[in-house]
Point group: D2
Chain length 355, copies 4
Amino acid sequence: MSFNSFGRVFRFSTWGESHGPALGAMVDGCPPGLELSEADIQPFLDARRPGQSKYTTQRKEPDQVKILSGVFEGKTTGTPVSLMIENVDQRSKDYSEVAKAYRPGHADYAYDVKYGFRDYRGGGRSSARETAARVAAGAVARLAIPEISIRAWVAEIGGDAIDMANFDSDEIGNNPFFCPDAEAAKRWEALVDGARKDGSSLGAIIACEATGVPAGWGAPVYAKLDSEIAAAMMTINATKGVEIGDGFEAARLRGEDNADAMRPGNEGPRFASNHAGGTAGGISTGQPIFCRVAFKPTSSILTPVDTITRDGEATEIVTKGRHDPCVGIRGVPVVEAMMALVLADQKLLHRAQCG
Amino acid sequence: MSFNSFGRVFRFSTWGESHGPALGAMVDGCPPGLELSEADIQPFLDARRPGQSKYTTQRKEPDQVKILSGVFEGKTTGTPVSLMIENVDQRSKDYSEVAKAYRPGHADYAYDVKYGFRDYRGGGRSSARETAARVAAGAVARLAIPEISIRAWVAEIGGDAIDMANFDSDEIGNNPFFCPDAEAAKRWEALVDGARKDGSSLGAIIACEATGVPAGWGAPVYAKLDSEIAAAMMTINATKGVEIGDGFEAARLRGEDNADAMRPGNEGPRFASNHAGGTAGGISTGQPIFCRVAFKPTSSILTPVDTITRDGEATEIVTKGRHDPCVGIRGVPVVEAMMALVLADQKLLHRAQCG
Amino acid sequence: MSFNSFGRVFRFSTWGESHGPALGAMVDGCPPGLELSEADIQPFLDARRPGQSKYTTQRKEPDQVKILSGVFEGKTTGTPVSLMIENVDQRSKDYSEVAKAYRPGHADYAYDVKYGFRDYRGGGRSSARETAARVAAGAVARLAIPEISIRAWVAEIGGDAIDMANFDSDEIGNNPFFCPDAEAAKRWEALVDGARKDGSSLGAIIACEATGVPAGWGAPVYAKLDSEIAAAMMTINATKGVEIGDGFEAARLRGEDNADAMRPGNEGPRFASNHAGGTAGGISTGQPIFCRVAFKPTSSILTPVDTITRDGEATEIVTKGRHDPCVGIRGVPVVEAMMALVLADQKLLHRAQCG
Amino acid sequence: MSFNSFGRVFRFSTWGESHGPALGAMVDGCPPGLELSEADIQPFLDARRPGQSKYTTQRKEPDQVKILSGVFEGKTTGTPVSLMIENVDQRSKDYSEVAKAYRPGHADYAYDVKYGFRDYRGGGRSSARETAARVAAGAVARLAIPEISIRAWVAEIGGDAIDMANFDSDEIGNNPFFCPDAEAAKRWEALVDGARKDGSSLGAIIACEATGVPAGWGAPVYAKLDSEIAAAMMTINATKGVEIGDGFEAARLRGEDNADAMRPGNEGPRFASNHAGGTAGGISTGQPIFCRVAFKPTSSILTPVDTITRDGEATEIVTKGRHDPCVGIRGVPVVEAMMALVLADQKLLHRAQCG
């Protein structure tokens, strides 16, 4: 119901703008007794933090999280966990151009029509800085699902995909692209740097896998796991598509090629394949949950684009400033956070109904 | 929160199984004073109805809707509209095989693990018959958004896509495939019939466009229009992916190619393109809302597939019975219904907050 | 969120009007595997049924419930349980007077202002017939909380209260007033019959007790058990007040007299008293949950009352027809149903968060 | 859904404990364009602030509110308004006794059973300090309903009621009891001071009236205005009862005495009385909304009470520390805040459905 909350029982809300004093998240419904300190959250924020390579925005934000409530003697109490991240590097800048004219691809025009005006400093609430708050919330969610391992990676930048034959999960942390294919990572250096130098930008596709999800999470009909994951991912800035398992490719398979045959296993069935991405009828099957998320190229580019002013006059705009040449890259920790938040909620929902 | 409801203010819930006495929907939050009779709903149910060509399941269901509440003197009263569709053709059949073994791709195994047992007759609650209830609810939603025109079509079957150069919206109703390209429709006859004869099945991609949506609907951050649409579409049986605007293709464009330039127009801006699919920052821009939905091939096929029994023994299964060779085809009215239901809700939510 | 639903995880919705074809309830989130048939529901409907004595309305409704979904082989499947009760005795009557003028105390005027018009036949959606649907839903809820015993009774009619010294729970079913005090029941015969003959009406206070509720249900802050119960009871027609434990009387006690001292017990503490009505900080303590609910006198009376017409003209109205002289009496099974529905929801919510 | 949020469209959440670093509220769904600064909120916090007379707790808290988000150039942007109040006077105290034994009437035992442990410092989340956060949120809500005037007062302390013949709304701010009857206020000085000196405590009844509420707010059946108000009030610490209009007294009236006769008026009807407290069928009638709320006596008293330790051993407890001898007194601004929050939500919900 509320516009800035997500989840049903394990539910979080975020608040804050790019250039306000702080951002934050409130996590409600968290199980009691989980060991939680700022040190459990900070590494995830660090992974998302801007300014760590020339391939991401140069805004410098320490993104230090503070826990303001919900923890006592190092453990969650079952009451709301309030998390705050102060904004530090709100560089004083001339926003008069952005205040006057609409940047295509940005929320500027839509916010103005909806609300009558907008906080134009750094995109206000529509800034990708909001994702810091959800990464913090996601770190709490992970503690509620210790049985599950979640990892995401960049599978494609600007149409250049990784080769799954080269997939090495240890590589993901070894390059600034969260890329599991060392060769692709090398190619992407030139690709992304080229786009940056051109004042252009690139889109990306992120893949995410959650292993250890037991069979039986999710629910018919309007709470299908597929739907919850899709909803979660499509709340992330710049996302334009999501698929579970083979997704759009499944639409090109024949029934017998898409079937995930089952054979007897030690614990539950052994599946011969995972075209479905770990769900059937919207409910987990015990296979890894797999999804892919499409990020459009960053809308802020140096190429002049036709636009209009607030008064409806024709003009051109060039979006200067500190921007990610490929906003998808830093989406990796955000996608992981959203997966953790969805699964923590599903775990609680499942035991609510099914004990 | 509830598992079988969707929407925030204009909210509907559905109930019923494939082989129970009836299916139904309850629409809550409907504005008062809308003219509504069964005749407003029936055409949409007729479009979805099975058994109308050899390309869809041969189950014969009249799918006659009854309005049980919420209408007085031909107008909605503002109280819940209860809709019921009786099941008629629950062919008595031997379900002993399905009761014992799990059909890969179906919800059988997942339901059994989740709930401890399942209604195996025709898939129970996981049957695509549930979509009749939402098509009925969607017809009510359309009345709440008379300013909006929604149409969906099949854009691709089994990897064979329409040619947009041949797009003719009048064609959509002229063939059993909801296909706007007369040439593609011809090709699909052989394609789908071949799959049917082979006991195989095909996937499909459905496109949907809503025109007349004013700028300003949707909301940051966790109620983005993109997210609401993605969630809605991914609740439909057999869907595995959704994209807004260019979707996954946008991830392969450069920033300047993905920008929807704006020029002064008579009412609001004139956009030079619609890569974004009608949203920016999750809020409508006044452009047509455009999405695409991937349907996997029908899981029920005559090819034997390895599986296990409820007792964990290896076996093979062949899914006989009356099935759609391409379940995506009949998804067209369902996709339209979900779009209408999302937009009716967004209209109400927008005026709640913004007057 | 939705106007006609209640509950968070164990959630039910109702639909239907006094003079429509049927009423119904949909119960969502019900745990799977509960044995459920129409015979489990019917006795509760029978207890609420009108026309059983001269002290209640003479409308004759069999109130036969049908289960339309969610049960397979005699057990709940975990999917929505849809319940329907057909309206039978919609006596054809002249409603022209009620259509034109507003009955004071009824929803007539408020509905007209809110919705622009109203279903004036028997009160439409505002009729107490709606409570049949929740009594049916409540019977399902009881199955989800077999550890809990709920009983309600009439504690006071028209200011004449029972004497707790005479309390005998076996008496409750022995008189038409759900009265646990045989002497009071005798007095009430004359009292209620007198009001009926006068064309007047009486208010009542219902008490409800739930035993067997374990400590730990409910949650801070906006989901306190006290708040959930108050919300639930105040959705019942004609209710104007609710109190938990000593309620308003607690406001007149000193701290030491209101304290429920605790002593060691076999299972949890032994409390010396139960002023609190079974909650502390909004969470159950293991003591019986106790509440009282105030019902105003039936608004439909034969005494002429000043009112206005739809056109704003002065007039007088006399509400003829079949009415309960004391609508509170038949509130007993409804109060019990709401208590069961709240507690089933709380049970599920508690295990969602706390395992 | 979430445990620490309230409202449907205008929705707020609170977080924080008595002895944590801060408390806060997030207001989501607030209409854009409302002028809002900290100065609009502070007076309401000041009215609730402790330590202002000897009749309330001596804890010294400045309760300075900070707006962390959702306001730009002095106006609400339509995005979440985050409010924070730092805790200052968390007097270092020996909590070892409270940590070990349960205070009767407090949430200690219930929290321990529910969550396995508890933050025992000053009551943790169950502390009445939480109400500071909702008073801040309520100040924002008031801005969304400028047409409405809300005022609450103490109607009764320890069984000593005001005389409505002496009612003077200007008196409410003239004494430390929010008492509209100057004579009663005088009596209460001795009464409350006596209780304080005795180490005892007193209950209170608060009345609240909202004028200017147009007819048509609220909704059948499970979103009745009566139910929403009851739910809201019963979330406040120490409340045990709520009534709308005549409430429990209505249960003692005959139908003709409880009828609010209507006569033609200039704008809508003129009502001859307001027994109903401004609602009919759960929907506002245009009359003032009136409710009363019962507060139990403060549970913290100096009289020794029997209790048990965490280990189940018998002991006695005396609750030393800084406590309100009558916690109901400071409930006045909290009751007003909750009324404002409910009505802001209802306003938005009404225009969502009814335009």
